[in-house]
Symmetry: C2
Subunit: 318 residues, 2 copies
C-alpha cells in the first residue's frame, strides 16, 4: 500500500498557496500557550476559512485534478467540517459541489454549505456513502473523501511542514478521528524533524484508534460507543490507509476525558484568545493533563465550529 | 515636532523579530472575515502574548535601550494591556519591571502583571503618573509610556508593515484611544501603500479623537464622559505627539455604538473564531455597520482580554 510521501506534501503546499484571495488556506502562526508544565505552542487551524484544517485537504484534492475532470464537479458526504471545506474549495475553483448530508444534520451546518454554493442532498444516515457514490458516477464527478485519500492526507500534512518551518519542535500532538490529519502531519514531521515524537489524541469515550494502534490491527468500536463524546468531530475510525500511516509514523495515541476537553476549550479562550470546538481542543487537553514525551511541544487545534450558546456555557462553567 | 518615520518602524520590526522563543511578538496572519458587504480581512492582534498589540511597542522600546540603561529596569503606569505588555517584555529581556496601578484595578489584571515578575505599586488613580515618574527617577530606570513615545509608536507600526506585506490593501481600519497604534500603522501604510485610506474608529461615547481631528486641534472630553463606553481600553486621549500623526496621516475617524461593538465581538467569535475584547472589536464594528471608502479592507483587532463571564454573556445575547 502506497503511503503519502514528504514530496506529496510539498506539492500540496505549492498548490494550496497558489489559490488567490480570501478562499486560500491561512498560513497559521504558532501561538505560545501558558499554563502547562512545559513550553507549549498552539497551531490554530480553527482560524482557517470554514473553521478547520479540512480546507487544506479539500483544496489540494481539487487543485490536483486535471482541469476537465475538475470542471465536472466534486461530491462529498459529511455533515461537518469536511463538507464545508469541500464546498468552499469547489467555490474557490468555480466548480460545482454536491454535499450528501444526513436528514438529521443540524440546519445551521447545512445552511453553511448551501451558502457556499453547494447543492445539498439530504438522505438517511445509512445511505450517505452509497448516494454520494451514485451521484459521483452519474455526473462523472470526483468524490473527495474526508480522509481515506492520498491527496487529502497530503493537504492536511501541510500543517506539519509549517510547524517544522517555524519551530525546532520535540513533540507534536494531534487530534485523531479518521486519522487523515495525523497521517499527514506525522509524515511531514518525520521528514523534517526525525527526532520529534508524534502523539495522537482521542476522547476516552472514542478511543478506537488507540486500541487499534496498541493491538497492531484495526479494532472497530460500535457507533453507539464512539458517539458518546461531546467531541463530535472525532467519531470516525481510521481506514486501512490511514491506519498504515499511524503504525508506520506515530509514536503513541493517548486519551482525554470529557471534563478535560471542556477545560481545554475554556483555557484556549482565556489564554490563546481563540474559539475551539471540543474536537479541536483534545491535543491541548493532553498537554495540560497527560504525561507526554519531554520537550518543546506543539498542539494542533484542529477546528473552531462550536455553537455560540454551547461555547458560552463551556466558558461559564470553567 | 519629529514624527515616526517608516525607517523607525523597519528598525522596530528587526528588533521585535530578534527576540527568541515564546516571549516574541507573533507574526499574525490576515484572516478573511465574512459577513460585510465588502472584502474584509482581520489582523488578529488579540493573538499576541498578553493578548494585545501592546507587546510590539513594549518590546521595541525596551530592545532599543542601551544595555546598561535597560539593565536598570523599566516602569509603566497602566492597569490594562500596556502594563501587561511592559511586564512581559521586561521579563523577555531579563530586566526588572515596575508597574504603577490604581488601587481600584481588577485583581485579575494585577495578578497577570505580577505573574510576569513585575513589581506592583498600587496608588490612588490621580497619583499614577507622578508616582511612576518618581520611581523612574529614584531608580534611574526608564519610563515606557503607553503611547506618547516614538519607540512605542514605531513598535505598534509593525502591524502596518505586516498588513502591507500580506495584501494589496485599499482601506485600513484601526481602533483609536491614545492613538499610538493608529499613528504607527498610518505611517507604515502611507509609506508602503500610498493610495490606501486610513480610518480610525472610536466608540460614539468616547469620540474625542474624532472631534479633535475634525476641529484641527485637540479637544478634551471629561473623563466621566469618556469612561461611559464598555470599550474600556479606548478611554485615553491622543497626546500632542500622536495627534500630529493623525492630522498628518489619517483620512478620517468614525464612531460606532455600544450595541454595534458587542455585535462585532460576537461576529468575530462566530466567523473568525477569535476572542476579542470590546475595545479590540471597534474596527470590525465599523466594517459591518458604517460607510467606509471602497475596496479591500483590513480591520485591526487590537486585543482579546475580556472576562470569560462577560464574553459568554455577549455571545448569549447576540
Amino acid at each position: 500500500m502506497d503511503l503519502v510521501t514528504p514530496q506529496d506534501i510539498e506539492a500540496a503546499q505549492h498548490r494550496i498557496h497558489a489559490v488567490p484571495g480570501p478562499s486560500a488556506a491561512v498560513r497559521t502562526p504558532l501561538l505560545p500557550l501558558p499554563g502547562a508544565d512545559r513550553e507549549v505552542w498552539v497551531k490554530p487551524e480553527n482560524l482557517q476559512p470554514t473553521g478547520a484544517f479540512k480546507i487544506r485537504g479539500a483544496l489540494n484534492a481539487i487543485a490536483a485534478l486535471p482541469e476537465p475532470v475538475r470542471a465536472r464537479g466534486v461530491v462529498a458526504y459529511s455533515s461537518g467540517n469536511h463538507a464545508r471545506a469541500v464546498a468552499h474549495a469547489a467555490h474557490a475553483f468555480g466548480v460545482p459541489a454536491t454535499v450528501v448530508v444526513p436528514r438529521t444534520a443540524p440546519a445551521a451546518k447545512i445552511a453553511a454549505a448551501r451558502a457556499l454554493g453547494a447543492e445539498i442532498v439530504p438522505v438517511e444516515v445509512a445511505e450517505r456513502e452509497s448516494t454520494a457514490r451514485r451521484i459521483t458516477a452519474e455526473r462523472a464527478a470526483t468524490l473527495v473523501p474526508p480522509f481515506d485519500d492520498l491527496a487529502v492526507i497530503a493537504g492536511q500534512g501541510t500543517v506539519g511542514l509549517e510547524i517544522a518551518a517555524d519551530l525546532d519542535v520535540d513533540v507534536v500532538v494531534v487530534p485523531v478521528s479518521g486519522g487523515g490529519l495525523l497521517s499527514g502531519v506525522a509524515t511531514a514531521i518525520r521528514a523534517r524533524r526525525p527526532t520529534a515524537k508524534i502523539v495522537g489524541v482521542e476522547p476516552e469515550l472514542a478511543a478506537d484508534a488507540r486500541e487499534s494502534l496498541h493491538a497492531g490491527h484495526r479494532v472497530s468500536w460500535p457507533v453507539e460507543l464512539r458517539t458518546r463524546t461531546g467531541a463530535d468531530g472525532l467519531t470516525a475510525e481510521p481506514s486501512e490507509l490511514t491506519f498504515r500511516h499511524l503504525v508506520d509514523r506515530v509514536d503513541d495515541i493517548v486519551t482525554v476525558t470529557e471534563p478535560e476537553i471542556d477545560a481545554a476549550v475554556a483555557h484556549l479562550a482565556r489564554h490563546a484568545r481563540i474559539v475551539a470546538e471540543r474536537s479541536g481542543a483534545v491535543a491541548v487537553a493532553a498537554c495540560l493533563h497527560r504525561q507526554l514525551p519531554p520537550g518543546r511541544t506543539v498542539a494542533v487545534v484542529s477546528g473552531g465550529n462550536i455553537d455560540a450558546e454551547d461555547f458560552a456555557a463551556v466558558l461559564s462553567l470553567a
